[in-house]
Symmetry: C2
Subunit: 721 residues, 2 copies
């Protein structure tokens, strides 16, 4: 085994003799000599490319008027020295690129002076004085920023490489880049070898500067780990951190961020050693990661709020890398419409091609799909059901992924729901005001741990008031739910998953449909959450709706003069109980208005089901949470229990023309016709006196299987009649 | 006196011999024969006019395919019979207009058949069965709708007048219009004679159909009251309901609605009897009313939420009448940009001219201004201070109007504040979900009376927990605050008013500035609220801020596990107390984030000033209120007291580019240097160690007066140094 590996490495070493420093062809990393020659005579012909260059030039020209400023590292994120060293790496990168494109030596000279200054400063630096991270840098309080710095600066250096004399290069490499490589490779070997986003930035940084310097051995270490044994390094990271469908386990918000070093370094590898076919690696997973990420958004490109997530859209700058590179590699014209929305391109061959082809843009089409999680795709996933277009695009998201590392939440089988350009049933995402110093220095807020990560803050079932896996991340990381079924036809879209790990002794099986049906004007969502257990438990299922409550079909006691909390721990302490009620006629229906549309959540309720109207904001001394509402179904003392919910969009509120249509729901009744280990059959009755039935096989999701229930036969996991 | 009046009326009668029925020139009301002849050959040349006509035709052609439907009157607003009779008047109006423009007899025939049907139905109708109004109609549950019906139908009738034979006209007039006139003129004489919006619709309806029928006497009664003595009728309504500045006392939301019958009927008068110079009456107040209304909006055209108000913008259809007529009469090209936003025009000479000139549109300019209230302009008013353009347009609104009749609120000297395309310090407006049946039938909600009208729901001072005028509308209608001062220069904009009626024995003097000052990056608002009283009282001053709380500079006790109400009555029962604190260093500063900007309200606080963080939503069993926050200053046991507040816009939150600027306020201290009957002098200290002083004369607002305080002299009511 070991000898085969050596052979492979020797072979790779042989292949890598094409590395750019030897060839003295510079730039070689992202921008290449060849593409610079192609771009230069054609500058001024592609508006989006020119705008990007001009914007860059406008900024850097202003900065170059100021004296070079390398403050002694002192501050954490947001502080002066931190922000100035960030500004410097951008300036080095941009000046380098402009030197290549414009040929004006003042830019090269600026880069040279900057690098000289850093080569002088860097060797004198101890570890950063702010001790908040285990992975401290020298310029920055955390090593992560140090690697981002080097990823950018290596590109600037590459651009002026041939402008410098050999002596100048030696001065810079000896003073700056060699010590930096040593910092990552030796002093932080653990991070360098780690299968983690911090590791990716580290190997990308070391790999890229090593390409520029022609250090093939260090490139190898970046790709295959410090021992070049493939146990660490970039290739292993691609293997481990992306599922075969291109999903990054922390969720879309962090995938957006993590993708950047993968794509930058992969582009550098591809430019220098195309024979590695890096973009084809693992069935082209790096390119899939781009399109998968783009699919994990609502209609306006906002990433679903899974796990720790803030508001971010595909317009974000770091995603330009993904979009441009994926377009250049795949020719998928839908990516061009996103590039157009981004309004800028990467200064590279991929960006140039994207700019050239902009006019060919096709609308980006959101699809109904499932995305598998886990390196081998067997650790659950995400189901996205969609119908409609534009403002009428409905998206139902079901999350049945693995935990998602440090940014994961304990919300197996949770759903969220979008319509009319808005989030309607929300996933709260993270409690954080990024970069806002007065809010805990811009870091995650305590309520992120005490509320947002807990099960009760999500649209899924909490058992006995305890979060899934009892909030134990280690345990939660060991198990993911099991995918059960997926249907995608014009009329019926469905995703189904089961979990037997999150709560000991309790099996949960949730199936969500998005249906087009003649009884409903708009797509209707049906949600069957089936719980089986030998023991009795309390089951809480909240829906965090956004909008103004319009009507309930149930009487309730409203706590109008005093207000208390839903509970004391596990996130319950962050919920005020505003009202509490019980169903009449076995149906709990809550109607709310969001934008110009009404929504009703109708739920089957037996005589023992209670309904709570809650509001986020309890135990929130610093006002860190958004005070938004939820309706919660509670079933005490149940062993087996099945929740059946229907979510309708109905009517229209038009204040300009002063009319209102259909403020009342269509659903009038929900009945469980049968609910066994084999089949769940639910009947939904409507205002018109008609009804539809949902037939679901609980133990065979084979699309070809034939099922029979009380004389009715159908093929496949479910049927709607 | 009487004989002079008779003479005038004889003269007017003589002048009015030009009425259209005699001339047999039809149409004569809004659309005239002359303008139809001008439009017909030019149809197809003006997009906005053609779109309006085509949209009309598209709708009416579809309706004309259905059988005529005149249901027996049965339902209240929103119900079938109500809505169908509304659809019918629109159909009669539109078909009439299309007959004139297109000459296709099918439209005239449709109007004829409709009118025949109504002429048969109407005489058989008793009063409407729904008894919710003192002013019941026959077709509608309230007479108001009946007059709106006739205003529209009279235009349709006018358009087909010459298509009908004399016998057909007699049949229609005898069966329908004469009984309807009798309904308004005889059976509801009180409303017909009343100086009130219902009266305006009634006289407009009667006056317009009388023009068509050539009934000069009834036109006179519409203009001068049932006794033609000028005590009632349209002219008196213009006199009484509009201030000399064109302000309608109920506030902008209702002014928008009320304006329509005024302008329609005035247009009819002007077309038939131009010699009355109706648009010049009372110094052209009807046209001023249009531009004044347009000024009472924030940057996107949303009307300020004064009194009972919902969200409405100048895009609303009924305002097209105002904009088109005012443009045709004044040639003010700023109105064209609003007409363009409206996207449709009135089918009339004014609409045609507006459409013709659309390309000349100039941007509508929001001004700093004061608007006087009261028939003679001496019942207080509204001050609007503005700075900046587009998204940076800041508007500070101070309300010191008269009560505003049934839709008025008890909020003397209240302020609201806009920036960045948003309402930042809100006036709650009304608690109502218009036309949403499940919310109290779409009517005003109980909380409108119990919260929204009360003083405590507004950004002004409540004394001893009681609303102004002790919530007595009759009393409140007798007094308005006194205007004190107004300044409008590039750097200093200011409005000031005093009230000594709202709370017995308490004088309130509020002055608000919008300043450009080198110590602040953006316009800064200063607010001095000076209270004098011989007795001790409790003073509560809330600010209903919209946004997420970021930071306070004061320690507070947060009620995180239990929550209680601020009080038991006068609106206090609708406020939860979330936290309570006290100032350190005599400054209370509350910073919040709204959109991408930070705002800080900094207030002078003596040792006895408490601060409350409240939230709307207590005692709200039906979830009718929006659960939004407020910060409230409370000073117990004070006789004289002066609140000094500074509202700053600062910094930027940019989640896309991931940076934050200036999340901390500039103001560091506020000091009252002096506060006497003569002068109030406040000093505002900033982060940079610098300060500015506000000098205010409390008893002489003459712009030419010279003042001296401790050796510093200035001219005019105030000075900033």
């Amino acid at each position: 085994m070991k000898s085969i590996r050596s052979f492979v490495f020797t072979l790779l070493l042989f292949l890598s003799l094409g590395l750019c420093a030897q060839q003295t062809e510079h730039p070689c990393l992202i921008l290449t000599k060849q593409v610079v020659e192609q771009i230069r005579p054609n500058l001024g012909t592609l508006p989006v490319f020119d705008n990007t260059v001009q914007e860059m030039q406008r900024k850097i020209d202003r900065i170059m008027d100021l004296p070079i400023d390398l403050p002694q590292p002192k501050d954490a994120g947001g502080g002066y020295s931190h922000e100035q060293h960030k500004r410097n790496y951008t300036a080095i990168y941009q000046a380098g690129v402009l030197y290549q494109l414009k040929g004006d030596k003042k830019y090269a000279e600026y880069v040279k002076q900057m690098l000289f200054a850093y080569a002088e400063l860097y060797p004198t630096l101890p570890l950063h004085p702010v001790q908040k991270s285990n992975y401290r840098g020298r310029l920055f309080w955390q090593g992560l920023n140090e690697s981002v710095w080097l990823v950018n600066v290596s590109q600037g250096y590459d651009c002026v490489y041939n402008y410098l004399t050999e002596k100048e290069r030696e001065q810079i490499e000896t003073g700056l880049f060699r010590p930096m490589i040593r910092f990552f490779r030796e002093e932080n070997r653990k991070t360098f070898a780690r299968i983690h986003n911090h590791g990716t930035w580290a190997v990308a940084a070391v790999g890229m500067i090593s390409y520029v310097m022609g250090d093939t051995d260090m490139v190898e270490q970046s790709l295959y780990g410090p021992d070049k044994d493939g146990k660490g390094g970039f290739m292993k990271q691609i293997d481990q951190l992306f599922s075969p469908d291109g999903y990054f386990e922390e969720g879309p918000y962090y995938q957006r961020y993590s993708l950047q070093p993968f794509l930058m370094f992969a582009q550098a590898v591809d430019n220098n050693e195309p024979e590695r076919k890096i973009f084809e690696y693992k069935d082209g997973v790096l390119l899939k990661a781009v399109t998968t990420l783009l699919q994990l958004t609502e209609q306006n490109g906002q990433f679903f709020h899974l796990n720790d997530a803030l508001d971010k859209t595909w317009h974000t700058n770091e995603l330009a890398w993904g979009v441009d590179i994926a377009y250049a590699k795949t020719g998928n014209k839908q990516l061009l419409s996103i590039a157009r929305e981004q309004g800028s391109v990467v200064i590279s061959e991929a960006g140039w091609k994207t700019a050239q082809d902009m006019a060919l843009a096709e609308p980006f089409v959101h699809r109904t799909l499932i995305v598998r999680d886990g390196p081998d795709g067997d650790q659950g996933g995400i189901g996205v059901l969609r119908d409609g277009k534009g403002k009428d695009e409905v998206a139902v998201v079901m999350k049945y992924t693995s935990h998602g590392m440090g940014h994961g939440h304990f919300d197996k089988l949770s759903v969220s729901y979008y319509d009319n350009d808005r989030e309607i049933l929300q996933d709260y995402g993270a409690a954080r005001f990024l970069n806002i110093e007065p809010k805990n220095g811009g870091h995650y807020l305590p309520e992120n741990d005490s509320f947002c990560k807990h099960t009760i803050s999500h649209n899924t079932v909490t058992v006995d008031g305890k979060s899934h896996f009892n909030y134990d991340m280690k345990l939660s990381s060991e198990h993911a739910p099991d995918f059960y079924g997926f249907v995608d036809t014009d009329e019926v879209k469905m995703v189904s998953a089961k979990d037997k790990y999150a709560v000991a002794g309790v099996e949960m099986h949730r199936t969500v449909w998005l249906l087009r049906h003649p009884l409903f004007d708009r797509p209707v969502t049906v949600d069957i959450f089936r719980i089986t257990s030998a023991e009795k438990h309390r089951y809480d299922l909240p829906f965090y709706f956004l909008g103004h409550l319009m009507r309930t079909n149930y009487p309730y006691e409203a706590f109008t003069t005093q207000r208390a909390l839903l509970g004391e721990s596990n996130g319950y302490q962050h919920l005020w109980v505003e009202a509490k009620g019980k169903a009449e006629n076995n149906l709990i229906a809550t109607t709310f208005l969001n934008g110009n549309r009404f929504y009703t959540i109708s739920s089957l309720a037996d005589d023992q089901t209670e309904v709570y109207l809650n509001r986020i904001g309890g135990t929130d001394p610093d006002f860190n949470l958004r005070h938004e509402p939820a309706v919660m179904l509670r079933r005490e003392e149940a062993a087996n229990h099945t929740f059946v919910n229907v979510i309708e969009i109905h009517g229209e509120y038009n204040p300009r023309m002063e009319y209102t249509l259909d403020p009342y729901a269509t659903v009038q009744s929900i009945r469980l016709v049968s609910d066994t280990a084999d089949y769940t059959v639910a009947e939904i009755g409507t205002q018109s006196g008609k009804s539809l039935r949902i037939y679901l096989s609980n133990n065979n999701s084979d699309a070809e299987a034939t099922h029979t229930f009380e004389g009715y036969s159908w093929k496949g996991v479910c049927s709607i009649q």
